[in-house]
């Protein structure tokens, strides 16, 4: 499934993550997935939430620099080889993965992974063809 992901630019200093989660909690926004990518002086926090528009306006009102991009969530069976099967489908479809991480929530015995690719639509099609959603 294609989802909206918010990426927030942060300087690497203590307390930045807490500031963001606090603002979102106060606005009653639910975070489904969270991932941190860091360079030496700055980083990105990527989140998937229940209300992207509201989260964006909360973040911008509080002076954070954030951007929305499309990512793909994929249900991976929570047993050995589950991720491997999905990775094979993606590689066979010749789709390049920019980065990936896992969702906090599990559902129906499936672990949900988030994939960022240049072409979310192509990825979704390739997965659907193999019965993966």
């Amino acid at each position: 499934m294609t989802l909206n992901q918010i990426s927030i630019f942060l300087e690497n200093r203590p307390g930045q993550l807490a500031e963001i989660t606090e603002e979102l909690t106060e606005a009653e926004i639910n975070i489904f997935a969270l991932n941190i990518a860091e360079a030496s002086e700055y980083g990105l926090i990527r989140i998937i939430v229940d209300d992207t528009d509201k989260a964006m306006s909360v973040l911008q009102e509080n002076g954070f620099l954030a951007t929305v991009s499309k990512v793909t969530s994929v249900g991976v069976s929570d047993k050995p080889g589950g991720l491997d099967a999905v990775a094979k489908i993606i590689s066979a479809a010749d789709i390049n993965i920019e980065y990936m991480y896992s969702m906090i929530r599990q559902k129906d015995g499936l672990a949900y992974m988030i994939f960022k690719t240049a072409d979310p639509e192509a990825l979704e099609k390739a997965l659907a063809a193999k019965g993966v959603f």
Binding site: Q5, F9, A39, Y42, G43, L65
Partner: protein, 432 residues
């Protein structure tokens, strides 16, 4: 042809301007000789008397005036009229050493207001306009200068002074301001706020007159495109009387010097020789009409070029380029001359915010230069690698411009402290 505040003067044939300047120079030199012992002593030391000054061609005989002269004679050693004829002072914001105090007679203020009125009319203003002045009022010349100009034009003046951005934007939208006057860094900040709050369609601004600090062409385009106005430069120094020494016309190709009130010269800052028009050098100004506190051949320290080619606007007064930098601003880092304006040009070119801070230091006897750059919405990505690549290309572009390695730090938006007046761009820890 555009509109003029004083067409006859602003479009006077050049020979007539030079003749007028010559006559006024003779008069002002006599005035300071008679009334300012400090000037008389300087002229005597240079072996020149008022009798030697017969016209413009004799200007080069006169000694220069420096900021140090003005500080040395603080507070009233250069006053050229009895104090009871002066009606107001303005003063520089000098944080180091003594301030410079400029005195004005009522006539001086009227001339100054006319100079600013010419700038407002050149920016498309008339009595139907609403002019929002958010330069500081008080000792600073910015507020009083444009306020006076706006009154002469007959526009409705909003004397906002600087700061309180919420109130600025509220008045701007509620009262429908059409011309904005402030520092370029504050204009950049205001336009960012206007866009962020979604007020772009609620404002009625058509033009801005921005001065009192150096700004680049890129910064102009940035402000112009953000809020849909034409941004005009205006030049002046407190020592000369304030803003309105020169101003841009609709051509936006150099600022017309109000030559009936000022003589502009370019000199070689080392040999102090006059240089021909079109040559880069230090800008020097002489007050021709100021009665209370005229300065003769004042060295501005601004590096600049004069252009006497005819302008399509119809004004005949000589144009000065945007100063390339102040010799005060110039830093020597690793033996290389660095102007903050060069760094600003690269930042805007590369899509970063024009809000930055330069930190120069000396580590193990070697100079270091760091630039804190605010991350901009145009440069954010969900991909860290892409941000790092853009950072690398910024470092490369800075190296290409300056010839030295600059360490770049990407910081969060609005994390660099902004003064709502003049921006603090450079911290040189080597001097602390």
């Amino acid at each position: 042809m555009g509109k003029f505040y004083q067409q006859e003067t602003e479009c006077m044939p050049r020979e007539e301007i030079r003749k007028l300047q010559g006559e006024r120079l003779v008069r002002i030199v006599k005035h300071v000789w008679d009334n300012v012992p400090y000037y008389k002593a300087k002229m005597e030391a240079a072996g020149v008397t008022p009798d030697d000054i017969k016209g413009l061609d004799d200007l080069h005989k006169l000694p220069f005036t420096s900021k140090e002269d003005l500080r040395e004679t603080y507070p009233d050693g250069m006053l050229a009229v009895p104090k009871n004829q002066a009606v107001r002072i303005h003063s520089t914001s000098g944080t180091t050493g003594k301030r410079v105090v400029k005195y004005y007679t009522q006539e001086d203020i009227d001339c100054w207001s006319e100079c600013c009125a010419r700038a407002i009319v050149a920016a498309g203003g008339d009595e139907n306009d609403i002019v929002q002045v958010c330069y500081g009022y008080g000792l600073f010349t910015g507020g009083a200068g444009l306020d006076g100009g706006s009154h002469k034009v007959g526009a409705l003046t909003l004397p906002m002074s600087s700061g309180n951005t919420d109130r600025q934007i509220q008045f701007m939208t509620d009262l429908g301001a059409t011309i904005l006057c402030c520092t370029p860094s504050y204009a950049a900040y205001l336009s960012e706020c206007i866009v962020e709050r979604g007020y772009r369609d609620k404002i009625r601004l058509k033009a801005g007159i921005f001065g009192a600090e150096a700004w680049s062409e890129e910064m102009r385009h940035d402000i112009e495109s953000k809020i849909g106005i034409k941004a005009y430069d205006i030049y002046g120094l407190t020592e000369l009387g304030g803003p309105g020494v020169s101003f841009e016309c609709e051509e936006q190709k150099g600022m017309h010097v109000n030559e009936d009130h000022y003589i502009a010269e370019i000199i070689n800052p080392k040999t102090l020789e006059q240089l021909p028009n079109g040559t880069q050098g230090e800008l020097v100004f002489t007050n021709l009409t100021h009665q209370a506190f005229p300065v003769i051949r004042y060295r501005t320290r601004d590096i600049c070029v004069l252009n006497d080619a005819p302008c399509s606007c119809g004004r005949t007064h000589i144009r000065m380029a945007k100063p390339m930098g102040r010799s005060d601003d110039m830093m020597i880092v690793k033996g290389v001359n660095v102007f903050p304006s060069q760094i600003e040009t690269v930042l805007i070119d590369q899509g970063y915010s024009p809000n930055y801070q330069i930190i120069v230091d000396r580590v193990n006897n070697s100079d270091t230069i760091d630039v804190n750059v605010e991350m901009s919405p145009e440069r954010i990505s969900d991909n860290l690698g892409r941000i790092a690549e853009m950072e690398k290309s910024l470092v490369a572009a800075l190296k290409a411009m300056l010839g030295i390695y600059v360490k770049v730090h990407l910081v969060a938006p609005k994390s660099i402290t902004r003064s709502e007046g003049k921006a603090v761009r450079v911290i040189d820890k080597r001097k602390i």
